[in-house]
Amino acid sequence: MNEELVKRFAPVLFLHPEEKFVPVDAKRYIENANLWSAKGKLDDKNNWGGVAPAAFPRQPLVAAGDLSGLAAENGKLIDSDPLRPQNPDEEMFLEMGGWKDAALMHEAGVTATSTNVYADRTAIADKYAEAALKESRFWYHCEMYDGARLALMASRAAPPDVSRFITANSALLCYYMFFPAHVQSVAVDECNDTVSQEVACHAGDWQCMAILLEGDGSGVAARYKPQFFGCTGARPYAADAAETRPSQFDEDGLTVMKVERWRPATGPARDLPAVDENSHPRLFVALGSHSLYTVSGGVAVQPYRNGQEPQWCGTFDTPSAMPEGYGESDDDDDDGGFGSFAAFFAKFLTGLGTAGAPGAVIGVLAASAEGNLGWGLTVTGSTEDRPNPDQAAAAGAGRTIRPKGVTVAGAGPADTVDEWKVQQNLRIDRRRYDYLVDRDTQRWWPNDDLETGYRGRWGQRVTADFLPRRSGPRFPDYLKMFFHALAAGDVEKKFEDI
């Protein structure tokens, strides 16, 4: 790992004045979190910490304080065999701060009567006001992929063939930022209720800034030249294909990686990202969602994958009145899923209930009219909830986080400026903390071997969350996201700086 190179491009963050969460050390998060197992239907509390007829209250697999991220430290290693999922339908999740119910009342555990419908973000914030975790704030983790590792990863990856974008002297720097919680709502003006406000809020929130560099073979940090720049967050709204900029969703469709040329001379990303002291990208962090932007202001977003937009003020997470998960079938023996079933069934049954057999016929007729099946299919409008725009405040309006000693243009008063506290080999209570990623020794990262390392969720599972959208996310495959966004820009000719 070229630490000098890492420090050269460390980002400057501008937070919104109302922001409650800042990037923290992920290792100290896991050390202070409960680890739960879930099996089967994963958004059903009956399947957490054991399955029926296990008694309530359910207990985590490992209690907070007894989990470790390094093999040499006390506690249970987070990816040790007993803590790894034993079956494909099993997963692990970290939980800090407990849950809350639909009335937003705190629920500390998983009991016979608890609802566990949302993560309690206030309780998480309270934890970070306590001394132990407070000191873990202002932390990022950085990983460097050199040309050889990039080539190896590309050779293992499924199509498209991204090896075309890599040389022996390439290097990819990924700065991972972990926020303890995430806030994302829909249609706040129209709906103004808890369901719409909580629709995509969850515990644990990963974001990433990535820079693809090209060296000269010497390994000297100063000789690497940035080629492409990526940062994550909600997918920006684009009115049409011409306006779309290159991006790639993570596997769970929660965030995208947006990629542009490094500071192009022309085009929509002209001279972006702006930098302090020639190399430190200036990133504006959206309130609550922590989307990273290279400019401040309000940003219209399309944060949900096509076909997964919330509907009716978040009443339905999927674009359907169907119960979640019944959209279509992957079962070879089934001749299709239950897509369209709810609409047809509602009409048929309501007709039946209203006017008996003749009414049922009317219901089928109504379904047929609505279906408009046949040759001429039409487009009829829009049903999804309007996502609330991201709000990224201007430099100095809220807290600024800067690399140590770096002069930041437009930073606010001194008491609003913090420095990254990252360091190597920080020792606290016989535990070690590093900011440079080593996936072989730091077991909370998914390992390159595609098997070991922690692959669970970084926040609590919640109930009634099939997609999932309100449960903590898994650590995204940022390498894949970066190169797929790069490939998207390449094929769509978005990097030609017209």
Binding site: P159, P160, D161, V162, R164, F249, R305, G307, Q311, W312, C313, F316, P319, A321, M322, Y326, E328, S329, D330, D334, G337, F338, G339, S340, F341, A342, A343, F344, F345, T350, G351, G353, T354, A355, G356, P358, G359, A360, V361, I362, V364, L365, S368, A369, E370, G371, L373, G374, W375, T378, V379, T380, G381, S382, T383, H484, A487, A488, D490, V491
Partner: protein
């Protein structure tokens, strides 16, 4: 936006040679070049800079979608391509459940159909009288299969050149492997160039999406959430019954649609005007207007639609229907919706 078609795959073969990127929203169908060298990736296709691939014997683009292509009850494909006169065509796509190409200048199509969980292969369709695809020039050629009234057709440069109906009325087999520019077994390489490939299926959420595209106050939203949750439980706990009812309803809906569209020109016109009006009124919440449309349809072309078909009536008395019906809460909490049926019944003077 409610899109009736869902784009499953979009290759444009532009950008860096060898990088075959799926531009569809889901991006599940990136490709692998098979025996295509960098020189086979051409910077220009139908337009300058649009990119294209030049196929030759043994070459192809292999696609293993990360999510299988399922729910293929309607499908549409479109290719921007150029066919060399020396070869006369070849296979443009072979996805197992459908295969489309050009044989000596004439489009041909082969379907694999799902029926009761098993696949049935039908022979290739190459409709007589279909205009030939011009050689050595860029064209947009494709096909549509609607899967409901059994309509299929070839499209050339945006114009329907052949259409046939009533061959099959079922969806296609799901597939997880497609080959572009050759047959899956090889030996039928496209003789020419391909600039752009698009594959769509009917959006499986289209109808439910349309269904909830209407005004709804909090009480109405809660009403449907409870109903939807209960339906989910009913499906989970009695899946066989749920599938049976689903199939009965789908068959009934398809039967009515076929009779409407394949009836006399007057019947088809009445039907199409009615559904256009229905779909105009639905998002506005004008349920009185919808009740009028339904009653007019029954009194106007109800005979043509064979609404007295015993199969439709039998639906109402099916044991599975009754079992699921009893498990679901009433929708009286959405009086506007239930009012559609009450008012239609009243207009038709139907007695429950």
């Amino acid at each position: 936006m409610i899109e009736p078609w869902e784009l499953l795959l979009h290759h444009s073969y532009a950008g860096s040679p060898g990088v075959i990127f799926d531009r569809s929203p889901g991006r599940t169908g990136h490709g692998t070049a098979v025996h295509l060298s960098d020189s086979d990736f051409l910077p220009d296709g139908a337009a300058t800079g649009s990119g294209a691939i030049a196929l030759h014997p043994g070459s192809a683009v292999d696609v293993r979608p990360t999510s299988p292509w399922s729910s293929l009850d309607a499908i549409r494909c479109e290719f921007v391509c150029s066919c060399d006169s020396t070869g006369g065509g070849g296979t443009l796509i072979d996805a197992g459940s459908f295969k489309f190409g050009v044989t000596q200048g004439t489009p041909s199509l082969d379907y694999g159909l799902a029926s009761g969980g098993s696949g049935t292969r039908f022979g290739p369709v190459s409709s007589e009288g279909t205009p030939a695809i011009p050689f050595n020039q860029w064209v947009t050629v494709g096909f549509v299969y609607d899967g409901v009234i059994g309509a299929s057709g070839f499209i050339l440069n945006g114009t329907e050149i052949t259409r046939w109906e009533d061959i099959w009325q079922t969806r296609l087999l799901r597939t997880s492997h497609a080959v572009i520019g050759n047959a899956r077994a090889g030996g039928q390489a496209w003789t020419g160039r391909i600039d752009d490939v698009k594959v769509w299926r009917r959006n499986p959420h289209y109808i439910d999406n349309t269904f909830i595209n209407r005004p709804a106050d909090p009480a109405t939203r809660d009403c449907w959430k409870r109903w939807s949750d209960a339906l989910g439980v009913a499906i989970k706990e009695d899946p066989e019954c749920a599938r049976h009812v689903r199939d009965l309803i789908k068959a009934a809906v398809a039967a009515i649609t076929r009779r409407a569209l394949q009836g006399s020109p007057a019947t088809a016109a009445t039907w199409q005007a009615a559904i256009a009006e229905y779909q105009r009124l639905w998002p506005t919440g004008d349920f009185n207007g919808i009740a009028r449309i339904l009653s007019d349809l029954v009194s106007g072309i109800g005979g043509d639609l064979q609404l007295n078909d015993p199969a439709l009536t039998a639906l109402a008395t099916d044991p599975c229907v009754q079992r699921i019906f009893k498990r679901l809460p009433s929708l009286d909490c959405d009086p506007g919706f239930t009012g559609i049926f009450k008012q239609t019944a009243s207009l038709l003077e139907v007695q429950p």
